[in-house]
């Protein structure tokens, strides 16, 4: 491994921009992601910056059970994220559809049918600490040696 590569690995694991997209959830997971910003959990002390611009993001947090309103739009958001990128499913909805996955529903879970999902955080909704731990444990692994892996 070159020196440049190890510097890149270090920087990527210490500075992560997170964007979240709500594809039809009940808001419960939304506000738990927001609660990660609170001084109690303070996601920014780990170098994770949450904002809502997919063009600057490294990690996409997918919340919700994929409603028909998001057909093609989620893929558009996913394509706008620059490489290297990864998506995490937050909550039960993107994994299984949670309570909404019943006869006569409009939703189309799981989200992994539409974009590649690297990890998932189960819970309805998951606690902020669980979200935080998932992002932190994923970040150093997925972006490691990105250039080498691509070749």
């Amino acid at each position: 491994m070159t020196l440049l590569q190890s510097i890149k690995n270090y920087v990527r694991s210490k500075s992560i921009h997170v964007s979240y997209v709500d594809v039809g959830s009940c808001n419960g997971c939304d506000i738990e992601v927001l609660a990660c910003l609170a001084p109690r959990y303070d996601i920014e002390q780990y170098g994770i910056y949450v904002h809502n611009n997919p063009r600057e993001a490294d990690i996409l947090l997918v919340i919700g059970a994929y409603t028909p309103g998001w057909e093609e739009k989620l893929e558009m958001v996913w394509n706008k994220i620059p490489e290297p990128k990864v998506a995490i499913a937050i909550g039960n909805c993107p994994i299984s559809g949670c309570l909404f996955n019943r006869p006569h529903t409009y939703i189309d879970p799981p989200v992994s049918k539409h974009i590649p999902i690297a990890a998932s955080v189960p819970g309805c909704p998951p606690r902020p600490t669980e979200i935080l731990n998932a992002v932190l444990s994923l970040a150093p692994v997925v972006f490691k040696d990105y250039e080498v892996k691509k070749r």
């Binding site: 109690r40 002390q45 994994i95 299984s96 996955n101 189960p122 819970g123 606690r127 932190l136």
Partner: protein, 202 residues
């Protein structure tokens, strides 16, 4: 000027410096009263399946046969951590947070009762429900197909071309009859009641 001096004094402290560069709030622990995913408490499961009947989430809980006997299994990604299974279980097989503690202290419980409804316009009297019913199988092992039997202790039987619910209180809420009905005429309602033991019991 005073405020500038205050800030210089504030930032010159060694504690501030050390905290600025090193302080981390470790990812916090869940408090003990948080209802986490239910885990086994070590008590013996009697396969009454009340946990599965109370569960509001599709595919969240299964009761499986293991070498140690029946055991409920929680599926993460489906379980919504509502804790109804913990409360509904008559034996306290599952535990989560403080729920078992609270139910033991206050004498609260969830009790099930079942109502069977037969739509007389849809019922064809085929007797599939009476034959399939596991309670009937125990009572009358010789039951003919068609569900016509003279045994009075049966839960369901066919009388004059219509399905008749004789002993509703024997129903265990398994919904086997509902799955075997070709015409969706019979439905089982699982009624959950939140009860608390009276003062004299505490």
């Amino acid at each position: 000027m005073k405020s500038v001096l205050y800030y210089i004094k504030e930032f010159a402290r060694r504690e501030w410096f050390s905290k600025f560069f090193t302080a981390r709030t470790a990812p916090l622990e869940s408090p003990p009263y948080f209802r986490d995913f239910p885990v086994l408490s070590g008590k013996t499961c009697t396969h009454s399946l009340f946990c599965m009947m109370a569960c509001p989430a599709p595919g969240a809980i299964d009761v499986l046969r293991t070498p140690q006997g029946w055991q409920p299994r929680i599926h993460k990604g489906h379980c919504i951590r509502c804790g109804l299974c913990v409360e509904a279980c008559p034996n306290g097989v599952l535990t989560s947070g403080r729920i078992l503690d609270s139910t033991g202290r206050d004498g609260t419980a969830l009790s099930f009762s079942f109502k069977i409804r037969v739509d007389p316009e849809l019922c064809m009297g085929c007797g599939n429900c009476a034959v399939a019913c596991p309670v009937n199988k125990v009572i009358d092992t010789q039951m003919s197909h068609g569900g016509r039997a003279s045994n009075e202790g049966l839960l369901l039987r066919v009388n004059e071309g219509k399905c008749l619910v004789v002993h509703e209180e024997k129903c265990t809420g398994c919904k086997t009859c509902e799955h075997h009905c070709p015409n969706e005429a019979i439905t089982v309602a699982r009624l959950l009641e939140a009860v608390q033991a009276g003062e004299e019991m505490q």
